[in-house]
Symmetry: D2
């Protein structure tokens, strides 16, 4: 039954159509071949199979693959992707989680009490709590006698020295979108599920309110929470002439990079955006933008932002971008104060490969940063290659991917906040 | 059942990585399984499985589905979509094409000669040429003695009377983006492949230059052309109280709709956009926008545009939207001259269901149109429901989906047209 | 020669400076002549005469008119304007005001009680109250027994039949920006001072809260209130071929126009904006824009808005314009959904003459409206000529022109409403 | 005759009205008192005096100052400004010009030959040529044997050591908008007339083409050229705690500033804009903006631009501002990538006083620059005060202020560059 060549396009056997079921073979992309019904029929009481093909996937329905009576799409099984509907993505546990990394925004006194409370709660649940060493060095924590016993059970680490990427079962963030960006930066490959709490006002990345943390955390530990896979960008920076400019570091290999024959390569995973700008220079930046190897445009202005949909509501929106829901598989390219009046932001498919290099006529170096971190200079010949990563950040939803997003648009960006009374153009009867 | 060649792409426990999952065998995208020489090797001394999973799909790579040591995505086979990489979509023929619909922009004398030439060429190729009756009524064609013989062999039809949806193997458009929109409107279900020619300047939807039409058409007839599936929106308009307002039409069924118990339902497939605006009224429009059943915002202003990515470069871009590549599975929502300063356009996943209704406090009816056609009034209680259609327009590419798009951005929108000399902010050394 | 009170401000050779012109006495703005202790002293050891020339005018200081040692501006007394500083403009009465026009937004029940209260208050103050007839026809007013006595003393009029332009000493508006636009439309030449009350939320044009109307109105009657002169546009519409298209109306003269040899001329005073758009047509509009007789650009899109600074916060802001303070002598030109990505709004000096005509290649007529009223069709050959009027609307300020404006930006447009917590780009220390 | 109270508002005696002339006194603001003509009369064949009041001033007509039968504007002679119509401003010479400053963009080899030619031409005209020393140090000039004789007659100077502000009769700029900005920076008070040449493409500030320099320069020397007074901003920077942070410089006084009791004050004249931004910091900037002493808003984002109308087409336009003609007396405030979606740019009257200070909650210092120069850090307590300067830059027009501006909008910004063929929304008949 499933041997039909196109069967894999169908959702499942029962997604057949009342009008073609029965003796007919299971539907496939070629289903309409024998159905010369007038187009107006599709609106009729008898649902056509088109109605059944409608999936609930946030990616939209699978398109039919036959076009008129004789044309169809050439099959290329190697190029088929199988994607689970983003709206139905839920978290589960292979084994019960045992370790949790708690990330706290530093230098924010209002977070100290919630942080301590949460750690005590987790310890009582027999979780191994990972905390970054510098968080515990905060005097308010270091000098708190009552917290000593709890602290003792912590596993501590330092960002640049210890690799905890395989030791943490899930992550709790306290205190703002920056905490999730920081969590992301700690995991260059697979990222454990993240549960982000805001304390003051709602953030784009921090949907959970701390008030009910006990029940919320318990529920996540028990599994079966809705998650949103926030795509990240994999960024590769290649610096030419590394040897010449910094001879002593010739053989050094830093955390994210390696040096080889005078060329240094670094790699980053970014959750919001890669920003290339003029840095401290007062000159405009002048960079070439390549897509899948072709020069598509040159950016003259303050810089350019390459962002994920998650990042579209961060720096990109300030630079004029439209906002993109994080479940849209796309990359956004937004110029920063461009020379040209017509340089509108664009949205390209998530699967392209972008490359940024200094233009030949650039008189100054550019600077690049990754989620606002690791800022560095880019000279002639250096390149920044950007693709969508296959390591997204699985962020636990408060309600679901759609509602959480619209809630944050309203709360964080005051999107379409309106005043009831008209203040625009006048109308005849309105005086 | 799961032994099908594509099964390995489905989300399963074994989609883990040899370096992080002990004894389990490496699972990866089939394509690369035997190709450990992935180009990304150079960026990392120890390639993780992530490197192997990288596909070339324009949708981006399949994300890993294990998150840290113990978490993974809950499997839900029913919610898995199988998508062929948009970049690799090519046209093929089940049987040789025999009939072609030629669509010509009317009232444009510059198109007459090319139209005749093309028809003669197709006739000589033994194709059955379909032409709309009103095209032949143009005096310049009707009175052309030399064209009489050719005309005789045509199949003619009238838009509102004849259903040609199952008789046309492919379509050739002559003369502007409007011709493709018209072609789209003729096919409410499966659309034959379309080959759109521009005659003057390049259009967003008409990549082919007529100069070399003979070789180009021949190549398409022979099959194996790159196509882009331009997604359409399926729009359902429900008018309440149809009975009351138009009692005599009670039982009438028009081309796209049906009337039942005083309610009239119509359905449209749109390629560019659905526009809801204030029509001839000088009042602002006031409509509620629902997403998957939830009220997400109220639009006060001149109106709102719900567009496909294809439509993002049409009316939406004039209203301030970012441009979206047609291969991004998304729907764009763009307000037209909104009251609110903060009402930035948004991009939502292609799979959502949008609904537009008059707000309760609206003092005037709104008007809706579909790709600029079928303009009609919308009153209190009426609804416009919009989802992504499973019947895209398969448009033949001149080069490929990506290059064609950037070419039209430059040619049609002068996107980031630049002047070499700086005219922006001053710089110290620049005087 | 210097005895004329204002003469010293005029551009003359002697407007040089003691420190740069030898024996000549210091010449400066009269105000500061005896005040060498200008506040700017601290910034320069040797005060140049420039310091003395600084006026407090909102128009900025008078520029020096000598340029280096030998150049100066050619004197042209005929081209000198004398402008009173907008910031110091105050209302006074030649004789005590005796008549007041009360304008009430119709069809708004919430305004009935305030309206009656106000009328009784004014009658008790022995003011003659003018009210439009249709306001009194509202059943809630017509049937109110207790209001009969008060009504009897009213002077009533009808918009299109009675000319009250010379009988009203001042105007009180109740109920929204539309009331001020309506008041403006009643006075095509000199406009009496207007006192605009809002009842619900603050409007751009209605700064007064009704709660304290008694003291506020009393104060205005006693004189000496700050006013802002809101400039208006004088618009002349010339319709060619009037005779041909409407032969029977050949000799008719309507309220604002006259017909002569087949051409009809109408004139309007607008406070917010002239809008030229595509009207009910779904075609784009295509109009030529002339400035002082030169074609400066062609507008392709939904239309174009020519607005006063007052109108910059109305329809223009919805179409993307920057907001202009009403005391800036300027005209704003804003395209509505233009075809071209680079068609940014522009601001031109108040003294230019603009003209709008259909482009030769326009396939459809355009429509024009004036403050949202008097909508009419514009065909080939017709013209719309726009200049700044010398009859502004003197609107009484609640505080002063600057504070009132920023208050309404915040209240009406939520201008730069911010959320304290950062939600934009990430920063290293912020996690 | 001039004793009438309002007489100063009239342009001159002959600006009377045919309908009120004769025995009536010369018109004044109160002209309409005895004219109860219906408002529709104003459109009649008999011109009302309103028609005569229309001046050609770019600032617009003088508004009437009587409002209805009894109200008028309170006279305040001290607050009256006398402004010469910007459109009629022309250059003249008190004495024949003898000295000319030639400014050449450095490091641009294409300018060497034109520069030499121009200098020889000026020398032959017996002009004293001033050239900055570093221009002559360019090897291509220093080593040119044939140029030695010409060079000998030059007066040379160095920017920071020699004050040439009283020695130069006019200025010629060669090579781009930056040269005019540099010229402006050399003259902190009165600026000699400037004649700016572009060599490659037209600049906003450089309307003259070098091809016809001989006739053009000769004409200017002979006087009577149209000029545009480009307003500048006077910026005062006050740094508190100067003593503490830099004790050794305590008593130093630099070119533009002075130090007093630990506070340092500097003053600048800027032609384009003052930019306050985050400088090399990756933090957002957070500054308070005051207008006439009142806090009007807080800027959170990349920064803020305060620009002249001349500067509106420079950095401000890249940040999203509307373009303002240089003859509009205004100041533009444009946020750079603001946090808030609703932070639209605003245009305020030229006469206001703006002040920018770090917000109390700012975590980082900001940076300020003036026409892209003199970049410096701004800490807590420091202030930047901005007003319109009375020392504009008198720039010689190629044609006139209006035509030159629209020419540069088209050439430099490709403003509303259009494609003839429609690419926007589809229309029914357009296919």
């Amino acid at each position: 039954m499933e041997s039909s060549r196109d069967a894999s396009w169908v959702l499942k056997p029962e997604t057949t159509c009342s009008s073609c079921a029965g003796t007919e073979p299971p539907i496939s992309g070629r289903v309409f071949r024998n159905k010369p019904k007038a187009r107006s029929m599709s609106t009729s009481a008898v649902p056509s199979c088109a109605e059944f093909r409608r999936t609930q996937s946030l990616h939209g329905p699978s398109p039919v693959t036959t076009f008129g009576p004789k044309a169809c799409m050439m099959k290329n099984p190697k190029a088929v992707m199988h994607i689970q509907d983003p709206a139905s993505q839920r978290l589960t546990w292979n084994k019960p989680p045992k370790s949790v990394l708690v990330i706290k925004k530093i230098q924010d006194v209002s977070l100290l009490q919630p942080f301590k409370e949460l750690c005590i709660f987790l310890t009582e649940k027999n979780m191994i709590v990972y905390v970054e060493r510098k968080v515990l060095e905060d005097p308010a924590i270091a000098n708190d006698e009552s917290f000593v016993a709890v602290k003792k059970s912590f596993c501590t680490f330092s960002e640049d020295y210890d690799d905890i990427s395989n030791r943490v079962d899930f992550i709790i963030c306290l205190g703002g979108d920056g905490t999730l960006l920081y969590a992301s930066s700690l995991f260059q490959e697979s990222v454990p599920p993240v549960m982000p709490f805001h304390l003051g006002s709602l953030g784009f990345l921090t949907p959970f309110n701390f008030d009910t943390y006990q029940s919320q955390v318990t529920q996540v530990i028990e599994g079966n929470a809705a998650i949103i896979l926030r795509s990240r960008l994999k960024v590769k920076v290649v610096k030419e002439n590394w040897e010449k400019t910094r001879p002593r570091e010739k053989n050094a290999i830093n955390a994210n990079g390696e040096v080889e024959s005078g060329r240094k390569t670094m790699q980053y995973q970014v959750l919001n955006e890669v920003v290339v700008d003029r840095g401290p220079s007062s000159y405009i930046s002048n960079v070439d933008l390549f897509l899948d190897g072709h020069l598509i445009t040159t950016v003259q202005g303050d810089g350019v932002i390459v962002s994920t949909p998650t990042g579209s509501t961060a720096y990109a929106v300030a630079a004029g971008a439209s906002m993109i829901h994080p479940n849209v598989p796309a990359i956004m390219i937004t110029p920063i104060c461009p020379h040209s009046l017509s340089f509108r932001p664009i949205v390209v498919p998530a699967g392209v490969e972008l490359k940024i290099m200094l233009s030949q006529e650039a008189r100054n170096n550019a600077w690049v940063s990754f989620d606002g971190r690791k800022r560095q200079e880019i000279g002639h010949g250096d390149s920044i290659t950007i693709t969508t990563s296959c390591f997204p950040v699985p962020s636990i939803c408060f309600r679901d991917p759609v509602n959480d997003w619209f809630e944050s648009l309203a709360q964080c960006l005051h999107w379409n906040v309106r005043k009831k009374q008209s203040h625009l153009s006048s109308e005849e009867e309105e005086f």
